[in-house]
C-alpha cells in the first residue's frame, strides 16, 4: 500500500539534515512552497544550499531562511528583486555564497540530474563571465558551455492537488520549477491545497507522476 500523505508540515520536513541542498520551487511569489520552507525554518535546519530562482522577498520563505542565517549558499538566476533585502544584506556581509546561473541553465541542470545525465553543452552563457572556468567547445560553428547536473538532496514543491500515490497537478503558472525540481531531488516533499482519491486525477493530465514524489502534505493540516 502506497500512501505518501503525511499529517503535518513538521512530518513533511522531518529528517532533512543540516548541510542539505534544497531545491525550492517558485518564481517570484508564484508557486513558492511557503509553508514547507517555514516548517524547515521551524525545525532549525541550517547550513543549507538553496537552489531557487529568486532569493526571496520581505520576511517570508527564502528571505526568512537568509535572515535566520540558515543558508550557506544560494544557487539562483535572479537574486535581486523588489524586497530582497535579506539576501542583499547577507550577500554584502559575505555571509552567503552566490552561484549565479542563467535561468534556463538552472532548470536544465536540474533536469539533467533528474534524467541521470552527466552534463550537457549549451550555447547559453558562452562568451560571458558566467562561463568562466567552464569547458567551452565549438559545436556546429557555435560556442557551447559544458554544464553539470544539479541534483537536490531535497525538493520543496507547491502543487494544487495530489492523490495518495503522489501524483500532482498544478495551478496556472505556479507550475514553474515544480515538475523539474520534484524529479531532481532524492527526497521530494510537496504541499498541496487538496487531496483527491486515487483515480480522481485524469491519467492524461497528471503533470508530475508520483514516482518523483515522496511526501505530500495538505496546507492547513495541523
Amino acid at each position: 500500500m502506497i500512501d505518501k500523505r503525511v499529517a503535518s508540515l513538521a512530518e513533511a520536513v522531518a529528517g532533512i539534515p543540516d548541510g542539505a541542498t534544497v531545491l525550492v520551487g517558485g518564481f517570484g511569489a508564484s508557486g513558492v512552497p511557503v509553508e514547507l520552507v517555514h516548517a524547515l525554518l521551524d525545525q532549525g535546519t541550517t547550513d543549507l544550499t538553496v537552489v531557487t530562482n529568486n532569493a526571496g522577498s520581505g520576511e517570508t520563505d527564502v528571505a526568512a531562511l537568509l535572515r535566520e542565517r540558515r543558508v550557506r549558499k544560494i544557487v539562483c538566476s535572479y537574486p535581486r528583486s523588489t524586497g530582497s533585502v535579506w539576501f542583499e544584506e547577507r550577500w554584502r556581509a559575505g555571509e552567503v555564497e552566490l552561484e549565479l546561473v542563467p535561468q534556463g541553465t538552472l532548470s536544465e541542470r536540474m533536469r539533467a540530474a533528474a534524467a541521470g545525465l552527466g552534463g550537457f553543452f549549451t550555447p547559453t552563457g558562452a562568451d560571458t563571465r558566467l562561463a568562466e572556468g567552464k569547458e567551452v567547445r565549438v559545436i556546429d560553428g557555435r560556442r557551447h558551455v559544458l554544464e553539470e547536473p544539479l541534483p537536490g538532496d531535497v525538493a520543496l514543491v507547491k502543487a494544487a492537488r495530489a492523490d495518495r500515490w503522489g501524483n500532482l497537478v498544478y495551478r496556472t503558472a505556479a507550475r514553474n520549477f515544480g515538475p523539474t525540481m520534484a524529479a531532481a531531488a532524492a527526497l521530494t516533499v510537496v504541499q498541496v491545497d487538496e487531496f483527491v482519491e486515487l483515480g480522481e486525477l485524469d491519467p492524461e493530465v497528471v503533470v508530475t507522476p508520483g514516482i518523483f514524489v515522496d511526501r505530500v502534505v495538505r496546507v492547513g493540516a495541523a
Binding site: 518564481f27 517570484g28 511569489a29 508564484s30 508557486g31 530562482n53 538566476s77 535572479y78 537574486p79 535581486r80 528583486s81 523588489t82 539576501f87 542583499e88 550577500w91 554584502r92 552566490l98 549565479l100 546561473v101 542563467p102 535561468q103 534556463g104 541553465t105 532548470s107 536544465e108 536540474m110 533536469r111 549549451t122 550555447p123 547559453t124 552563457g125 558562452a126 562568451d127 560571458t128 563571465r129 558566467l130 560556442r143 498544478y170 495551478r171 496556472t172 503558472a173 505556479a174 507550475r175 514553474n176 520549477f177 515544480g178 515538475p179 523539474t180 503533470v207
Partner: protein, 224 residues
C-alpha cells in the same frame, strides 16, 4: 549637435510593434519591451511567451481580478487568452533556447557593432548580480530586437564598437530600435535604416560610438 527629434519610448514601442509579423511567437523582455504588446495592431494575432511557463499571455487583468500565481516574467499579473497553455520552466526554456520563439524584444545597456548584447550587469559592486532568462533569450530567439534609448541619461553612447559592460551573448542582435533611429546589425556593423525626422546623419553618428553606415534607401522613422 541637435537631437531634438528624440522619440518617447512609447513611440519606439509602436515602431517595434510594426515589425512583428502576424502569427509570431514573441517573448518581450521585462521593462520597456513590455510596452510593445500594447502597440501591436488588433489585426495581428501574436502568441506571447513567458519564461515562467506560459504561451498565449493576454493583457493585464482588471483591478481585483488578479491571480497572484498567474504572472509574467516581470512578476506582474497577466491573463491567459483562449488557446493559451501552461508548461514547466524547463520546457519554457527549451522553447527559448531551441529557437522556437520567433522573436524577442530586449532592453540593452550596450550593443556592439558585432551584435554583442550587454543587458544584465553594470558591474556596480554594491549590488549583487542577477541574470534571469536574459542569456537564454538572447542566444535562443530566432530574431533578437533591441529597444533602447540611443544614449544613456548622461549622454553616453549605447551603440559601441565593443561592449565594456559584461556580455549577455555575443553576435546575437539583429536590429536595434532607439529613440533616434532603426539600425540593422550587419557584417559591416550598424546600418542605419531609419532616422527620426530632421536628424542630421552627422548628429546621429555623434551620438554613437560605433561607426555607422547609412542605407541607400534611408527612411524617416515614422513614430505614429
Amino acid at each position: 549637435m541637435s537631437l531634438e527629434g528624440r522619440l518617447d519610448m512609447r513611440a519606439v514601442a509602436r515602431r517595434v510593434a510594426r515589425d512583428i509579423p502576424d502569427g509570431s511567437y514573441v517573448n518581450l523582455g521585462i521593462g520597456l519591451p513590455t510596452l510593445v504588446a500594447d502597440c501591436v495592431g488588433s489585426d495581428k494575432e501574436i502568441v506571447y511567451h513567458s519564461e515562467n511557463g506560459i504561451l498565449g499571455m493576454g493583457p493585464a487583468p482588471a483591478p481585483g481580478a488578479e491571480d497572484p500565481e498567474l504572472i509574467n516574467a516581470g512578476k506582474q499579473p497577466v491573463t491567459l487568452l483562449p488557446g493559451g497553455a501552461f508548461f514547466h520552466h524547463t520546457d519554457a526554456f527549451l522553447m527559448m533556447r531551441g529557437g522556437h520563439v520567433d522573436l524577442t524584444v530586449l532592453g540593452a545597456f550596450q550593443v556592439s557593432e558585432a551584435g554583442d548584447l550587454a543587458n544584465w550587469a553594470t558591474d556596480d559592486a554594491s549590488h549583487p548580480p542577477a541574470v534571469g532568462g536574459a542569456m537564454d533569450l538572447a542566444v535562443g530567439a530566432r530574431r533578437v530586437l533591441v529597444m533602447t534609448s540611443h544614449t544613456t541619461k548622461a549622454g553616453e553612447p549605447k551603440l559601441v564598437p565593443r561592449c565594456s559592460y559584461p556580455l549577455t551573448a555575443a553576435g546575437v542582435v539583429d536590429r536595434v530600435y532607439t529613440d533616434l533611429a532603426v539600425l540593422d546589425v550587419t557584417t559591416e556593423g550598424f546600418l542605419v535604416r531609419e532616422m527620426v525626422a530632421g536628424l542630421d546623419p552627422d548628429d546621429l553618428q555623434g551620438a554613437t560610438a560605433a561607426r555607422l553606415t547609412f542605407a541607400a534607401d534611408l527612411a524617416v522613422l515614422d513614430p505614429s
